[in-house]
Symmetry: D2
Subunit: 507 residues, 4 copies
């Protein structure tokens, strides 16, 4: 089950596929890869063969329903080696500021090599295309995911990993004394990530955990885990020790059992709020969460730059078929915008989207009929109407287990939203001046200003919820330190004793 | 129930007690106080009358068993006003870096005034003596608790509260863009603290919560809550708005219900591990914990400064009758020390302790018979023996619900401890070189070096566990920021648009 | 010369003045004081008697020309004890993060006590009135100077002084190695400050120097040095060791000689640019400078809040008779403001100022005739005119060596300013958008936004020039650390040696 | 003279040399290079042809005295274009946190590409060999210099350049107000670096200056400037704009004139103390200095690890023929070491050094006869003696203008050193306990502990003097920020005005 085993399997697999297969593959794929994005198909399926489980599941191609990837999923009875591997990691971690500091440098080197490798066009292209196969989005969106990951790795080249472990000291009360604050790892940890960003989310969290000295077990949604399967091979090629990470494919029930048995000191979960809350209780809060938000955009009374705003709204709502964590869910629009032509422009823009280039594509977690039902419910509200879209995609072979729906916007009068009661506070705030809105809200990552948009922000910004002590962040040095390490205080008091020290009274 | 009500009650109480009573009291107590530590007794009991509950419980004097304090405990049916008060606090808090910044200054002023008032000898003395009445410890220990609290308040005078809310900004990708990291409050929060430090623990956590912009409900163990009752009056006298804090006396079940109904965004719990774990599950991890540790001391092979070490061991083990969070539970001693006379010296020192000056006193959470039973179990281990103590205190009137036991040490051979299985890892580590021990452990606050001892450390050091994502700290600016606020990221992107911006393709 | 001597002198002075004198004085002055602001006059002059020099100079009262303060000025031949005292301070300072850390705590205590004492109304009032006597400004302005100083002391209570000495450590390459960055003092240092803020500037720089571990010699402009003379007595009363500071009254030539002989490791100079540049060369750059700026205000095209803006302009230009470091020297006004009534309002506001309450008062460094001459030169520029003022004050007894002039504004057309050649760059910038102006300038402390004004800013902001490697700041923890300490790096590499270390080849 | 010109020259040079020349060169040199380290010789001299000066100087090969490099040195009459180029840079820099932030990203990209290119074996080898030709040292030492430079570039990949410009904000007094601290560039700056590290010192300082937004003119000692000449070509190949840096070869007098005319806002000088002090006065302190130190090592009373210590002493004293900034100048040895064999071991190790592999080589700034004279002076001290070395190298062709001397150690009794007067303080300190020595000294970068040695320290540590306000550092983010930027404070106060604002009285 561990990477040590899987590397052997990889060698075997390579032997099996034979030199002829390799020759043609190498035109399209980098040396570390074991699959070729363009060639995966029903007739030539890929294998996600990281583990030794005998239980194979088929994934269907989201664009045509063919069985195209076979994944070995670990069963409940097979988790023992994972539990043991985690348990073998001491709770002070694989390294920390006072143990094995050379590993900080090793991860600086790995990051430099991986950043360089991932930055090579053939490799970026390989991952972008592989992402497109399992989480359909436009090539630009898939490539952007690769590039953000590449920049993240660049940020932790050289000494930057050890800089994450920078400690501080404050002078003590007397000669020889000081109080010292360190960032300490948790030791054995778990990472669970979703389908929508198959590379960026698991890679960034995985590296953060490793940088700080933890030993993670990583579970990515099996529908897309082939991407991290390949990424781990790249990392191994760049020098990452195989035993530093355990990689598992399984269903949620098995993973839940593994967590309860292995009892990792920390678990990072990115995914639905429902599962997040269950896990938080199961793990008694030893968890950091990044759950989906209901994301809103506010357009204030000053109408300006309508073309630009329309484009931002279109991208924020429909890029990646609306499956970004930061996808715009609701747009509050001051009445001044009603005559600006904004909605018409948004309609035109949405109609540019097409299945051929995946500017619109399958929805992996909601079926077409569910979306139709939700829309119908909204339309029961007095005054509501479909602005555009509102129909299933046509001429497609997306399987029924996935959704296939045109970019859609439903208008609901604010006065009706207000009736729903506890929504009042939010809506009472929203037309105050700019700073006041920011000061009177506790949203997670927030984008403010005329050019504000999620995907136009620096790739290094903290992304995550606010207002929850369990909230995780991703993307920055601060996020890594807060999510993947804890404070440890050591008071050094090395003497000498004061001259003429005498026994005090008991107290 | 809220402080608004209670102030009225206070005024009424003052009226009732009349001018004569006041005249004599003012010799011993400061103006804000409503009790006099020396005068509380069975015949002249004190009232903890913060809330309007009709349900009064009697506390018995831990030194003689007399009913000496009457506490009004809120019942399950009475929690509604607390729930409402918390709910009225918006989740962006009473203030934050973008809202009501004048409140940071107000808390700087309150801290300066309170530090000054608490530093006046009559006030320090008042609190030290009040602490002694409910949590018996020597005057020096009680006074030290007051002094640490006073220094903490000094640390947050002037602008230092707003410095806690210092944010950072990183240049963005283009003119007008920056990413900003803020420390944001949680809004409604809860604080639950134990009996052993009736002033320091609740005051420091309360002020930390307030500094960052939260609205706390505070519950201190009813046995000692009269100390914070008086401290809140001091804070009000220094300008703290009455409505900023809710103060509650109740049993654990009622508090649990309140938490589940009011759903504070964060709860700080200091106390037993058992309750901590239950609360963590109930609150789905929206919690920070500071639970009791099993604290150990290691003496390495270099024998030196035996008198000093004996004194440190005596203080660390028996000061406050061993009821400090940091009290030494076990001493690992290299065999080189066996002929050093250390144990004999420790015995002599322990025998200096006496009930009269409370250098030994009642144990508030374990009865005498439980301690005897535990000792007997230890003595069943081959080779174990009582080094000193091992008997109940004599000639005392400590009530049976509390413990009364001499300072005691039981020797257990390390070889036998090793047999107990999972203890192996710890013990295998402990005789490595100094740095190695530190690098191979994940203890919370750790004291290292020849002069190392918990109560000799700077009062401003971070005190708290390590290795748990729910771990809370206390005592430093870092602790306040990590426990009482979360990261919020705002990306400003204020334009202008690039000249000649043109509509890009959809992605 | 040293404070040890001067304290004896103080005692002697107190003895001389006798109990009767004391009785009446104590109604107006705090215990540490040796002068009474209200009673200083030609018939009852004060003595600035800090040093033993036999050379006494008379200061004249800026309001009526009477000789009212006698100052003992050290002569060139008398500097030896000052040189020796500085030389006796080791260059690693009186304390540093690895030496005498208890002194950080001592200064935290001194600051707490001094903040408290200075915050008492009788003491604030004493200093405000004393400032008014030597540097005439309105009571509110003088009191504000005291209050800013008081808040500064509050900021460094408790542990906050040692927090200034917080160091950091980065993990090294192998077990036992780390690189550590410390803030180290310079040791012997000098501080030279001007007349306009007799308390705030010398006190803040002095305390900053002391906090970090330096031993300063302090020279304040003799015209106002009686204020710091009294403040040092307050600090001594709060526990500051007399030998930590040397205080000198002398002329510039003597001070220059002292600096060249004593060779302090760092000199802080606040004052005129001309002297700053000379000192910088004399001291070969071992200096930090805070020189007067030519301060400008820009009003952009959006006309709003005219009453408020007029008030801000009046305060920023004429408070303290225009002798603040931050006093507005020039106002750039977009033409949109010409019909707003702004200039008329400014005229009215300036006419409220009167000598009686010192809202306008003597100018200590420029005579009336110099100001008239400068005005006449400006009026030669085509299109220029006096907007208001432009005349000497009337009915006053300000001596001729000082200036006495009404609040004055001269209008100069921007087109004429532009002609002066190299001014073009500045003026070309100034009507760009807000952020662009900030991004395209390198001014020191800058106030931006509709409410922006210097004296409305938080008292804890960094005040100082930008763009000069010798630039000093004042007022914040960052300023103290950058001005009064330097980086010192220590690499600890405590072993152990790697097992099986073998001799490498020479390289 | 500027790089814009020089690129054209380069193109021309490439054209001239023709395809045949290129073909053979590419076997040994990277594409950007215009010289081949192995091929430079008297018969095939290299040209340092960056500028258009008509004045060519010859450099002689330090190993055989042949004229082997021709350098065009700018004359006093030719500095005008350099002065103009610097003057054209605004004093707010080429970028700053509020201007052109995309340039931070550009320099992150340049660093990533340059780190990668410099990490390629052919490129590292090229630079190591080129360094050896002009500043003879062993291949390992020269390669280490390249590797440190490469790691430095890795440290500033991706977003790490903009992280250097991270600012902070503190909440203000009221809604809409905050005080903000920025790191601001100086604009036009100068860098002057010496011969001993031809790549590392100029590259690190140059990049630091550029990262923060400055426009530098760079002057490297002409004897070795060909190395940076080639490095600049590498940087251009990685995307650095040609106009960002001016590169000049000249003598000191010309450079001095340039500085006085161009008046750069900051000058970084690394070199001899004598010139440093002159420049500091000439530039009135607008300078940061890193001058040579007199470096000492202390061996305390605990004798241990003698082989290791002997090796460290040999390396620290004689690697790079003692021409490192950190080269050990004096060794204080406790008498306990006298019988340890340490000196004998050091003698043996020094005798391993030989000219063939440049483990000993020419000294570029001191002639053989000067060294002999200095040694003779030392030997006049009673009790002093030559421990080893003390003779000129034999069988070499090092030209007379350079030094050629065996690794040498002279013993001087401590009692004699003490006689020299003011040395007493230092020597009285040095046998105190470890921490005390550190606390009682103010040395620049200090290496403490049994494994301590300069070149064994992490390459990212701050290297530089302490105790001088003009002191520069090199090698870390802190060094870059402190040397190459200054604090700028902006107070934002964006409103709104308080409701019911009314005109206050004048003050």
């Amino acid at each position: 089950m561990s990477l040590v085993l899987s590397r052997r399997r990889l060698a075997a697999a390579v032997r099996r596929s034979g030199p002829a297969a390799l020759a043609s593959r190498w035109l399209h794929t980098p040396p570390f890869a074991t699959v070729s994005p363009q060639e995966i198909s029903g007739s030539s399926p890929a294998e996600g063969s990281w583990t030794t489980s005998g239980n194979w599941n088929w994934l269907v191609d989201p664009l045509n329903g063919e069985k195209f990837i076979k994944v070995a999923e670990v069963q409940e009875a097979e988790i023992k080696p994972f539990v043991e591997s985690l348990s073998n990691c001491p709770k002070h971690g694989l390294h920390n500021p006072l143990k094995a500091p050379e590993r900080y440098l090793m991860y600086g080197d790995i990051s430099a090599k991986a950043a360089n490798m991932l930055g090579q066009p053939v490799v970026s292209d390989f991952f972008a295309k592989l992402i497109q196969r399992v989480s359909p989005k436009s090539y630009q969106q898939a490539l952007a995911e690769v590039q953000v990951s590449q920049k993240f790795l660049e940020n932790f080249c050289g000494d930057q990993v050890r800089f994450l472990a920078r400690s501080f000291a404050v002078p003590g009360n007397h000669l020889g004394q000081s109080s010292n604050g360190y960032r300490w790892p948790y030791g054995p940890v778990a990472i669970i990530t979703p389908f929508n960003f198959p590379l960026e989310i698991p890679l960034l969290q995985l590296m953060g955990a490793l940088y700080m000295g933890n030993k993670p077990v990583l579970k990515v949604d099996s529908k897309v885990s082939i991407v991290m399967d390949q990424m781990l091979r790249l990392l191994h090629a760049c020098g990452m020790p195989a035993e530093d990470v355990n990689f598992i494919n399984s269903d949620g029930i098995t993973m839940n059992k593994l967590l309860l048995e292995a009892n990792p000191k920390m678990t990072l979960f990115t995914g639905s709020s429902r599962i997040a809350e269950k896990l938080a209780a199961d793990l008694k809060g030893k968890i950091k969460l990044e759950d989906a938000g209901f994301d809103w955009k506010i357009l204030g009374p000053d109408v300006q730059e309508v073309d630009y705003i329309a484009w931002v709204c279109d991208q924020d709502a429909y890029a990646c078929s609306g499956q970004k964590c930061s996808a715009q869910s609701i747009l509050f629009m001051h009445k001044n915008w009603s005559s600006s032509g904004l909605l018409d422009k948004m309609k035109s823009l949405s109609e540019r989207r097409k299945l051929e280039d995946l500017t619109i594509g399958p929805v992996l977690t909601v079926t077409t009929s569910s979306m139709i039902e939700h829309m119908k419910n909204l339309l029961k509200i007095p005054g509501s109407k479909v602005l555009f879209g509102g129909e299933p995609l046509e001429n497609h072979s997306i399987p029924e287990i996935y959704g296939a729906f045109k970019p859609t916007a439903v208008f609901v009068p604010l006065s009706e939203i207000l009736k729903s009661g506890n929504f009042e506070l939010v809506t009472r705030e929203i037309f105050g001046p700019f700073q006041e809105v920011l000061g009177r809200s506790v949203n997670g990552t927030t984008y403010a200003g005329i050019r504000a948009r999620t995907t136009g922000a620096p790739q290094n910004h903290w992304f995550g919820p606010a207002g929850d002590p369990r909230g995780a962040g991703i993307g920055t040095p601060e996020a890594i330190k807060l999510v993947w390490s804890c404070h440890r205080e050591i008071i050094y008091d090395i003497g000498p004793l004061p001259k003429n020290w005498a026994l005090p009274s008991a107290t």
